[in-house]
């Protein structure tokens, strides 16, 4: 992925594609830019790290007995900023901006072209061996282009936000190095032209996620969270690996183009192989996208800096699973069981996570479970064959969830400053300690309400269009009719729960009386411009982002401004070249049954019902929580009984996993080491040694060193010999 010298190859490939009318501009450079940013920032980070390490050593030498100074991650105020701090401010967001501009240019070109086949650019031969030949190749098509737009666009905004959020952190250059590296791997993930290259990005983002979650690694819990994320993700990765192996042994190649072209003829519809492939892919996707049963890492991942949560754990990386299913849509279309599994997992996760979110007090945890829940929606979408809807929700979710996280970041930033100013030992993320923040943080408040309404699915915000589309498709999908009816019910309930807990979060955070305390109150203030401007941009996207995929009937109705919108179902049409094959298979296999609504009613009717219900829930929840007298975290403590306790403790899933998986594995490990290795194997080896040593000891008894004995034994020996000879 790192060879600029191959531009000739690019040019050649581009000319080869010229017939399709799409001539990509420097796609390799888009990937290289974040990598370059990583390298530059990485060097700066090492320089800065070495410098602070020296300072630390000197301090330790000066006061060898002192306890380690209390590490404060976010503040090292006062000292003049060095180059290692000022340069990343420009490098980090700078490369992102350039990458975004290039991506946008390519996007516009692609818009203008009539592109049916993906543009594959092969840079070099990566793993040529035997029958397997894997190239380091990228693929530009409608799906990867949308993903690239989201990644570079939202990524750029979050980089800018980070400048404000992280500027006082001693690890500032390191932070940007990781962030750039993440973007690089994420781009590799979405542009890879075959499964192994995608897997490079897949694990690469996992690595960056690990590093960024454990960014403040001095804190044991945060380092643990990073580790957990990595290991849980690896479980999913095994699924992906297995899927690749089956694909290779079935198709003899791992390139997207060849596999998806050959799949409809090679694979039997609903056959064992394709079902196995899709289930393994689902395992991989569930790991990365935090679905049941592998969702447990994502809430813990909130230990990372908040912009990281926004970028990685809301907008981009966690949606990789959805991308994967959409990418492999042909396979999922061929495997109705696999697809149904995706949808079911999605629905279960969505509902399950939403219930947990109801009772969380950490603002980031609420958002984390909300993310898990929304990812479940996306899974439902791609699971029922509505790939465009899934990707659509992925995109709008990237906007409003990034906005929510960044807003939460701004709130935490502000709370942290305030608590830090008075050295109060409170949790800066606990909503019970907040309240009434709408006055000091007006813009953040407005933006976050926009996002909340968007996620709650209220017209005209983005989430309304995307989420309701998914719900609608879940209701209309076949062939397991009753199952989908259940899923549909779960989706609706989840949507209402979403509206409820999001409103709860907003009310607890921004409304009601302020609970921080007198001294802190005057330190609460609005975040700096570098942080609010990205919020604003995202707010705009959260409002209008949904209008790119409005069904024709809706467009002509009240919701579409009675035809005011210039286009209908744009995203759906845009993605058609990618999803057409899958759609064709579904149509062929299910016929008219494919998109037949078992529930009845049209888009518009359901639109009214959905908005109405969501709005009602928002209002209800607002009234409920506004009227409640909220106590601070210290006063209230943890819920001690009932369903509240169960939800607060996240259904005890972590404890359950710990009990049935982690502890047994550790137990087996200890057993293997202490018993099998040391006692059985080494015992045998040492026993053999002991036997020979014993024989030696026995023999040494005869070696007295006394000449007499030797003479005697000699004589006996001679006698024996003589006896044998004579007798």
């Amino acid at each position: 992925m790192t060879e600029p010298a191959r531009t000739t190859t690019e040019a050649l490939a581009a000319t080869a594609q010229a017939g399709s009318g799409f001539d990509p501009v420097l796609p390799g450079i888009i990937l290289l830019l974040p990598l370059l940013g990583f390298l530059l920032n990485g060097i700066l980070a090492l320089v800065a790290g070495s410098r602070s390490a020296t300072a630390l050593r000197l301090a330790a030498l000066a006061e060898p007995d002192s306890e380690e100074e209390r590490v404060d991650h976010q503040h090292e105020v006062g000292a003049p900023k060095r180059a290692t701090h000022t340069l990343p401010t420009w490098i980090g967001p700078g490369v992102m901006l350039l990458a975004f501009v290039l991506t946008a240019a390519n996007f516009l070109r692609m818009l203008g072209a009539d592109l049916h086949d993906a543009v594959v650019i092969s840079y070099w031969s990566w793993m040529p061996t035997g029958a397997l030949s894997v190239d380091a190749a990228i693929q530009l098509d409608q799906l990867s282009m949308i993903m690239m737009m989201v990644i570079t666009g939202v990524g750029f905004l979050i980089h800018v936000f980070s400048v404000g959020y992280m500027k006082d952190d001693p690890g500032y250059p390191r932070y940007f190095a990781y962030l750039n590296l993440f973007v690089f791997f994420m781009l590799v993930l979405v542009t890879g032209a075959n499964f192994p290259v995608m897997f490079v990005g897949w694990e690469g983002v996992g690595l960056c996620s690990y590093l960024l979650i454990g960014f403040w690694f001095q804190d044991r819990e945060k380092a643990d969270a990073g580790k957990k994320a990595f290991i849980v993700n690896r479980i999913g990765d095994v699924g992906l690996l297995m899927a690749m192996f089956i694909l290779f042994s079935t198709f003899g190649t791992l390139n997207y183009g060849e596999i998806f072209a050959a799949a409809p003829t090679t694979l039997v519809y609903g056959g064992g192989v394709v079902t196995a492939i899709t289930l393994f892919l689902l395992l991989g996707a569930a790991g990365k996208s935090a679905q049941i049963p592998l969702y447990v890492w994502l809430p813990d991942a909130m230990a990372g800096p908040t912009p990281v949560s926004a970028l990685i754990h809301a907008a981009t990386m966690v949606t990789a699973g959805v991308y994967l299913v959409a990418r492999a849509s042909v396979l999922f279309a061929l495997a109705p069981v696999g697809a149904a599994a995706v949808a079911t997992i999605g629905a279960l996760t969505a509902l399950f996570a939403a219930t947990i979110a109801l009772k969380q007090y950490d603002i980031k945890k609420v958002l984390a479970y909300s993310t898990v829940s929304q990812l479940g929606f996306m899974f439902m979408g791609v699971g029922v064959g509505a790939y465009a809807a899934g990707v659509f929700h992925l995109m709008t979710h990237a906007f409003f969830k990034a906005l929510l996280f960044l807003g939460a970041g701004a709130v935490i930033h502000s709370m942290h400053h305030a608590l830090h100013a008075t050295h109060k030992d409170w949790d800066a993320q606990d909503m019970r300690n907040m309240g009434g923040l709408r006055r000091p943080m007006k813009w953040t408040w407005i933006f976050m309400w926009i996002a909340t309404l968007a996620i709650a699915g209220i017209w005209p915000f983005a989430g309304f269009f995307s989420k309701d589309e998914i719900i609608w498709y879940v209701g209309t999908s076949a062939p397991f009719g009753p199952l989908y009816a259940v899923l549909w019910g779960m989706a609706v309930v989840t949507a209402l729960l979403t509206a409820f807990y999001m409103t709860r979060m907003m009310i607890l955070t921004f409304h009601g009386p302020n609970r921080t305390g007198e001294a802190e109150r005057k330190h609460l203030h609005e975040a700096p411009l570098t942080m609010t401007i990205p919020l604003g941009v995202l707010a705009i996207l959260s409002i209008f982002g949904g209008w790119i995929n409005v069904p024709e009937s809706v467009r002509n109705s009240f919701f579409g401004g009675f035809g005011l919108l210039p286009m209908s179902e744009w995203l759906h049409d845009w993605l058609l070249p990618v999803t057409a094959a899958a759609d064709a298979i579904r149509l062929e296999q299910m016929g008219a049954y494919a998109y037949q609504s078992p529930i009845g009613g049209g888009h518009v009717t359901w639109g009214f019902i959905a908005t109405g219900l969501a709005l009602a829930v928002v209002i209800l929840a607002s009234r409920l929580f506004l009227s409640r007298d909220v106590k601070t975290a210290l006063e209230e403590g943890e819920p001690t009984s009932g369903i509240g306790k169960l939800l607060y403790n996240k259904w005890y899933v972590d404890e359950f996993y710990d009990r049935i998986i982690v502890q047994p594995v550790i137990g087996i490990s200890r057993f293997s080491w202490r018993v099998v290795d040391r006692v059985l194997i080494d015992g045998t080896v040492n026993a053999v040694g002991a036997v020979s040593r014993g024989a030696g000891w026995f023999g040494s008894l005869f070696q007295t060193g006394q000449l007499n004995t030797y003479a005697f034994i000699l004589a006996l020996g001679a006698l024996a010999l003589l006896g044998v000879l004579i007798l």
Binding site: G130, G204, G272, V685
Partner: protein
């Protein structure tokens, strides 16, 4: 460039030089004096590495299978030859050796404080032995070199090791000596049989190839050879010498042990066991046993590694796990698997070598290897932390590093025939994270809560010089392994064709060419070459020997159980899941 190399006539002397120049360096090191010994040894090995790079050009990837061949009679009566030659597999093993040696020596500058001259002399002796092992084309010569490596390693562990060094050294010695003695018996038997078949005495590998042996004989010989190499690899359950040897060995000893010495075992499988005993190697039971042991090794070693309190022991167990992937790849018996196994070997050499070096650096600073004695080091030693994280990632096979390429290919190869095995082995990927990340976390992250650690210095210039080539290679091999794979492929393909397709392919051509050449040299027209051709003609039908008939049926039933081609993809699962065990 090419002209220059032609002028040097590399191919005529390079192998001899790589074997004997280290030995020639010993007097130089001994004469250099206690103070200068390390610099001299480093310079010497570095020079050798530079020379060995010539192999890259001297070896023609498109050329014949075995290149740079030369043969001088040694003990004519027994047919022992000083015969050298390399294929792509040996090429990289030799390069890995010459590359590792200067790094190991440079990494030991501060670690080895006593009897330095002796130490570096032994390291040079070790290099002679290892390169000899990889360059030998004569089984007798190979055995001599194979045993020769034991001696310096024994002393390196036993003299410069840790507290329980004697125990570890003796255990190491006895384990390996036991195995290789059995192999010696096997070698002699094989030699005798080949002698009968050829009509002349020879230990030359190409003369021993294709020796007619009944399946029973093959299985016995396979057992004798495999035991020796399995101990060296080491394959579960013969691995317990390794953690002890690694923990007690001084850093450079561990590095060489992990990076190169273990590879002699897997190399032995590839060069000798598979080609000499093709039917035994492809025997379904044998394959299942080896694969099972490989998989057990991967998972078991990973689990055991996860609970080690001693960082060096942890890394030692990871070696066992990695070598499990190699075994898996080898006994997948297809190009992908073997290639993968070989890349794992190279990659493991680099990444585990680097891990041992880093742990050695920590030990030099803190005189402890216990994981719990560290913590938060990333703050005081960011360079070391970066190196350790990158190395750990390469070790657990994160894509983009060399570890991934190897494991991926090995698993792809295995999956083609043994999906369940591949699945179980893939679980090792999880366990790899399960042992490596907690170690990284407890060493680098968490609170910097020990005051001894707070004054720990970061990497020095020398240490950066030691680690950076390794780190660079990890990434380069992960991103662009194609040149390596290209050079490995002919050798790998030759083995696969030989074993799987009734002793055909490049190995057979090499065998025939060798015999005809010998015949031409003696101008004896009805000599061994002719006899050999007859022999092969006799073997021409795929399953000709009388003992093979019932075996053939076994083989066919195995084919049903483990389909080699995805002709009926739906059956992969239905059949194997039911019949595998």
């Amino acid at each position: 460039m090419t002209g220059l190399f032609d002028g040097l006539v590399f191919e005529s002397w390079i192998l001899h030089a790589l074997i004997w120049l280290p030995l020639a360096g010993i007097p130089v090191v001994l004469l250099a004096g206690e103070e200068r010994a390390k610099e001299v040894a480093f310079g010497w090995t570095l020079g050798l590495f530079v020379v060995s790079l010539g192999l890259w050009w001297a070896f023609d990837p498109a050329g014949p299978l075995f290149q740079l061949q030369s043969s001088v009679p040694w003990v004519e009566m027994w047919g022992v030859n000083y015969a050298l030659g390399i294929d792509g597999i040996s090429l990289f093993m030799i390069l890995l050796t010459t590359f590792t040696m200067p790094i190991a020596i440079l990494g030991s500058f501060r670690y080895i404080r006593e009897r330095q001259r002796g130490f570096y002399a032994l390291m040079l002796l070790l290099q002679t032995g290892i390169v000899g092992v990889f360059a030998s084309m004569d089984l007798f010569l190979f055995y001599v070199f194979f045993e020769l490596t034991l001696v310096p390693m024994y002393f390196i562990v036993g003299v410069w090791g840790g507290e329980r060094r004697i125990y570890a050294a003796v255990k190491f010695f006895l384990y390996t000596a036991l195995g290789s003695l059995l192999m010696l018996v096997g070698i002699l038997y094989l030699y005798w049989q080949a002698n009968l078949a050829n009509g002349f005495a020879s230990f030359h590998v190409l003369d021993l190839l294709g020796t007619p042996l009944s399946l029973t004989e093959q299985l016995w010989l396979f057992g004798a050879f495999a035991l020796a190499f399995a101990i060296k690899v080491p394959i579960f359950p013969l691995h317990t010498w390794l953690p002890d040897a690694h923990v007690e060995a001084p850093t450079p000893g561990s590095v060489v042990l992990a990076a190169v010495l273990l590879k002699m075992g897997t190399y032995g499988f590839l060069r000798f066991v598979l080609p000499f005993f093709p039917e035994a190697s492809a025997h379904p039971t044998v394959v299942m046993v080896m694969l099972t042991l490989g998989v057990i090794g991967i998972i078991y070693a990973a689990l055991v590694a996860a609970v080690q309190p001693d960082a060096k022991k942890l890394v030692a167990y990871t070696s066992v796990a990695h070598m499990g992937f190699v075994v898996l790849g080898i006994f997948a018996l297809n190009v992908n698997g073997l290639q993968g196994g070989l890349v794992v070997m190279i990659s493991h050499g680099i990444s585990t070598g680097a891990l041992f070096l880093i742990l050695g650096m920590l030990y030099e600073r803190r005189h402890t290897r216990r994981i719990e004695d560290f913590g938060g080091l990333a703050r005081v030693a960011p360079l070391l932390a970066t190196a350790l994280v990158l190395t750990a990632m390469a070790s657990i096979g994160v894509p983009g590093t060399s570890g991934f390429v190897g494991e991926f290919l090995a698993l792809v190869g295995t999956f083609e025939k043994y999906p369940v095995m591949a699945f179980l082995a893939a679980l090792g990927v999880i366990f790899a994270a399960f042992y490596m990340l907690p170690m990284v976390q407890r060493v680098l992250f968490n609170k910097l809560d020990r005051k001894e650690n707070r004054t720990m210095p970061d990497l020095s210039g020398r240490e950066i010089a030691v680690l950076s080539p390794l780190l660079l290679l990890m990434v380069v091999l992960g991103v662009y392994p194609a040149p390596v794979l290209e050079r490995l492929e002919p050798g790998v393909r030759a083995i696969v064709e030989w074993v799987e397709e009734g002793q055909t392919g490049a190995l057979r051509s090499a065998r025939e060419a060798h015999a005809l050449e010998a015949e031409l040299a003696t101008e004896e027209l009805d000599g061994p070459g002719r006899a050999l051709l007859h022999r092969f003609e006799g073997v021409e039908p795929p399953l000709p020997q009388p003992t093979r008939t019932e075996e053939g049926e076994l083989g066919r039933s195995a084919l049903v159980a483990f389909p080699q081609t995805p002709a009926a993809p739906t059956e992969i699962f239905t059949v194997t899941s039911g019949d595998q065990d």
